[in-house]
Amino acid sequence: MTLAIETRGLAKSYGDVLAVDGIDLAVPRGQFFGLLGPNGSGKTSTVHMLSTLVRPTRGSASVAGHDVCRNPVAVRARIGVVFQELALDNTLSVAENLRFAGLLNHLAPADIESRGRELLALFGLEERRDHPVGALSGGQRRALDIARGLIHRPEVLFLDEPTIGLDVPNRRRIWRHIERLRAEERITVLLTTHYLEEAADCEQVAFMRQGRIVRSGDPGALIRQLGHWIIEVEGSDAAALEQLLAPRLGHCIVDGERLSFRHEDDDLAPVLSLQRELGARITGLSWRRPNLNDVFLWINEKGLWEALPQPETAIR
């Protein structure tokens, strides 16, 4: 299996601030990989090291077969980077931006033209070809920015929080574009996001916290590890509720007045009986399927994840 991205003990510190604390990544070619975590967990610093813009303090990394320190120009020729902030020239038109980016990537004008048409069609911007970037909506600008990162057919695409600052309809639109892109071109994508639910389509995810990867694996398998349901109980005396319910439902995560339990069984009968039993002591009782947000919460509670039943497929 050839790896598109491989890091060993990769670390970066800014002064005495340790942004990335020795991470090991192995992303196979063609994979859709999600680097997840809250703001400040070291995702963006990792992307900056992998895209050669920042030198690692320790460790090594190779991207598309080239070492990021020894051969940064070769790496940059093979990657596309979509930063958190747009990399577009507002004074130029949509087509002129793609032309500028294409020439910077040594493409011939004819190639830029044909590839540009392809990408504008993919991202629904054909009608906007000659509009100045300044006249586009936020979602269209972001779509163009991703097209800009793809103009030279990179082997690896870095998407650093691609939907940050966008409203929900535009976020959905960007995800539809990315889905189509993945269906049409088999390229490796490394996505960072703190909207964890957006990473559900990733083939592999790694959770970062305080510069370290705290867990990684197939998102579906990680979610399945939590069980079938998440049961949320709300009540004003959370501590008493926890004491009462923990023997039956196991450990829970307390967030203010809300307790979240895992329910491994698909059968909700025991939960329904809870409702009769607790009556007025609770202000809310609900259940839903677990998602990556839950995975992240359970990972972050000390010792809780380790106590889960460990299926064969889980990594680490």
Binding site: G40, S51, L53, T91, L92, A101, L104, G211, R212
Partner: protein
Amino acid sequence: MTARPFLAVLQREVLKLFRQRGRLLASMIRPLIWLLVIGAGVESLIGGEGGGSYRQFLVPGILGMTMLFGAMLAALSTVYDKESGVMRMLVIAPFPHYWIVIAKLLGATLSAVIQALLLLALLGVLGYLGAIVSWPLLALGIFGTAVACGAIGMVIAAITRSLDNYAVIMNVVIFPSFFFSGALYPVSQLPPALSWIATVNPFTYGVDLLKHAALPAGHAFAADFPAIVDISVLMLFSAVAITGACIRFSQESAVQPLLQVPGRRRKKPQAG
């Protein structure tokens, strides 16, 4: 193959020059005001001495001025590029980061040369080009001055974070470069202190080279230094300035501000 990124930057520079019509118009009007208003005013004070007028003397000076403003402002636009997304496109492109300096310098030079050619055409129409001594030397003077002014701009762009202090740069760099040069008066006739400042000002040598090309030798207003000195100083200064800007741009700390998201920069706690 390697020429394409340069082509990209040059094309963008020309596109911008002709789109910002106000800037282009200003770059034509500014020198003509000096020539036709200040020139005529001063001439009425000192009287037109035989062999050439003060306005004729101003021709190389205002050509130099066009290059000074044109090249330096184009080079300084690099700082705007840092704040907009353009610099992000440049730093992620597959070439060493010092190329950005060279490409922007070529862009600034091209932009300034175009403005100089437009001004030359206007001067021709107004009848000020009859006295040109050497066209090849004029071409060399225009090119050398544009490169040197672009190089000053790139050094400033390389060490400046934002152009909030734009007026400062205008008043501390551009105007003094112009006034403390031989553009408005012969350096040899300045008081010692001013003459000394003009001698260390690289822009002086650009204007002086243009004087060699545009003013007859032996005239009271002729060039102050031998042409070879002008060419050597311009080349040496440009080489040193460009090298400095290239070194600065190759450092990680030059890229860093581009990557930081304003207001979202995190303080990392001790990793546990």
